[in-house]
């Protein structure tokens, strides 16, 4: 499944009375950030039901440290699950801007990635990437919970390569396409 957390145990220097862990700042911050990705409850439509199923008892996102926050001020990740309509687009942009840095966007489902089956509808924005910068595209209609977890793990790996100086990789990851 991949590394869930880097091997920090081996870097602990033991002293009587305790130990000291020496690691780079980036490594510590990224370890903390990738293992507690708090996601904004932003289910728009059908993919939201699968997102709920992924978070619920059978598939369980809580074991990855992912829980859902209702307010964007406390969220790190925005999982856009569902199609984006023209009426909703300004709100998505505003919610993205309300999230504090460092933030990430995961586009879940064909509709959020590229408009999905509604490419010949004039009220649908062809992918949420036209409004906000997307880090991970998870394709599917709707993507299976395993697929979504795969996308979230890829996002965790992306976060572990970040730097607190703020320089982020721009190339989005595609999963399930």
């Amino acid at each position: 499944m991949g590394e869930v957390s880097p091997d920090l145990q081996s870097r602990v220097v033991k002293f009587p009375g305790g130990g000291v862990l020496v690691a780079g700042i980036d490594e510590i911050f990224n370890w903390a950030r990738s293992n507690s990705m708090w996601s904004l409850t932003f289910g728009l439509s059908c993919c939201a039901i699968e997102m709920m199923a992924t978070a619920a008892s059978h598939y369980d996102l809580d074991r990855f440290g992912i829980l859902f926050r209702a307010t964007p001020r406390q969220a790190d990740v925005m999982i856009v699950a569902g199609w984006v309509s023209v009426k909703m687009a300004p709100f998505i942009r505003r919610l993205y801007e309300q999230m504090p840095d460092p933030k990430h966007v995961l586009a879940m489902g064909g509709c959020a990635c590229a408009g999905g089956p509604y490419r010949d509808s004039e009220t649908i924005v062809k992918g949420v990437g036209e409004i906000v910068p997307v880090d991970v595209f998870v394709y599917g209609c709707p993507p299976r919970p395993e697929n979504l977890i795969h996308g979230l793990i890829k996002l965790q790996e992306r976060i572990r390569e970040e730097s607190i100086l703020g320089i982020k990789s721009r190339e989005p990851i595609t999963v399930g396409g």
Partner: protein, 400 residues
């Protein structure tokens, strides 16, 4: 806490060292003055992104403190123009889009669409397909009501219910995946029948699931139905009388909780419902608890129906032959299906060409939502969430 001026048993005596007091304040008169001022009300926006609006619904509430003075629901945040997209395609090519209307119960939408095309084109459905359609519908109804139980509990703060309900829902979804191949958007009804027969031991799986669900129902009752906090929050909240319920065009468990016995499965039977023995759940109170209880009791009725289907399932073809190009004769036809939310109806107009002139989707959530604006006035903000949850809407079909 009384506002009457209290008599002080030890009044301070006025002496040379005590400063002169100002005029006495009449607390009661002051309070009445504040009440008479009247308030404009604070306008609060709820949504479109909100954990309890079941999708993207925006409610503009005008509040007087905690009490709602007015509510204006705004919808359209999920509008795709599906009905317009149907006009650009042949009739059967629209079926996959219908999954995404009421995405919690996709098979109901598929069935309503296929039924409308079948009535328009005069296509018969073989017996075995009709029985299996009933089984699929009821299994989907169970999955939908389990989702309702989970999300309604979460809206009121009883988040444990979500985890328990989804545990059983995963079992139902596994069964549906075994026959249709998909977990949520099945697209498993075709004009004239079904695409394929059921797998070999599917009926045993469904009956085992029925037993499992019945064994878990007492758990749900312990968590919600018999929970005193849940009862206090839902009983007497948002009462809809039966006359109002009919005037607003409510359907489904929302209507039946107000005492009106209108269930399309009994009123205008389709598929094989006329040959199945089940009860229509009707409650008298019309409050939020009754709307919740109606769905909780319908779970038992769906289990009852599923058990009868496999006793009576005949052998035979699974679909009747429909030509490559379907050109129904000119006319207008409509279908009526009892989805978990109410009366789902497709109205189709044909002019003899391969594409329809018009497809209209009468979504039960659209009609049920109209009552919200008048129902929440006078209630507290927390009750708004309870009432909205009990109406059980899915915004995919409200906005289409």
């Amino acid at each position: 806490m009384s506002l009457e001026p209290r008599t002080d048993p030890n009044p301070p005596t006025a002496g040379p060292e005590t400063p002169a007091k100002g005029p006495a304040i009449d607390a009661q008169a002051l309070h009445q003055e504040i009440l008479d001022l009247g308030t404009q009300g604070m306008v609060m926006n709820m949504g479109p992104q909100h954990p309890s609006t079941h999708g993207v619904l925006r409610l503009i509430l005008t509040l007087d403190g905690e009490e709602v003075m007015a509510c204006e629901p705004m919808i359209g945040y999920l509008h795709r123009g599906l009905e317009k997209m149907a006009e650009r395609r042949p009739y059967r090519h629209f079926l996959p889009f219908t999954d995404r209307l009421d995405y919690v119960c996709s098979l109901a939408n598929n069935l309503a669409c296929a039924q409308a095309i079948e009535r328009l084109a005069g296509v018969e459905v073989p017996e075995r397909a009709q029985w299996l359609r009933v089984a699929l519908m009821e299994l989907n109804r169970i999955a939908s009501h389990l989702l309702f139980l989970g999300t309604f509990g979460t809206d009121l703060g009883a988040t444990t219910m979500l985890l328990y309900a989804f545990r059983e829902r995963e079992e139902a979804l596994a069964l549906l995946e075994a026959i249709t191949g998909a977990r949520l958007t099945y697209n498993w009804i075709r004009v004239g029948g079904l695409p394929d027969d059921m797998p070999e031991t599917w009926d045993e799986g469904v009956l085992a699931f029925c037993d499992l669900l019945e064994s878990r129902l007492p758990e749900y009752d312990r968590l919600l139905t018999d929970n005193p906090i849940f009862r206090r929050r839902t009983e007497g909240v948002g009462v809809v009388s039966s006359e109002d319920a009919k005037a607003y065009g409510l359907t489904g468990p929302t209507l039946r909780a107000s005492g009106v016995a209108y269930d399309i499965r009994r009123w205008a039977p389709y598929e094989k419902y006329a040959e199945i023995d089940f009860d229509v759940v009707v409650l008298r109170d019309g409050d939020t608890f009754a709307r919740y209880l109606a769905r909780r009791l319908e779970l038992e009725q769906s289990v009852r129906i599923l058990r009868q289907v496999f006793d009576k399932l005949p052998e035979g073809p699974i679909a009747s032959k429909v030509g490559k190009v379907l050109k129904p004769p000119p006319g207008i036809a409509f279908s009526q299906v009892e989805s978990p939310r109410g009366e789902l109806s497709f109205t189709m107009v044909s002019d003899g060409s391969p594409n329809p002139v018009r497809v209209h989707i009468r979504a039960p959530s659209f009609a049920n939502l109209t009552v919200l604006a008048d129902l929440v006035v006078g209630n507290k903000v927390a009750d708004v969430v309870a009432i909205l949850g009990s109406i059980d809407i899915v915004l995919g079909e409200v906005d289409r």
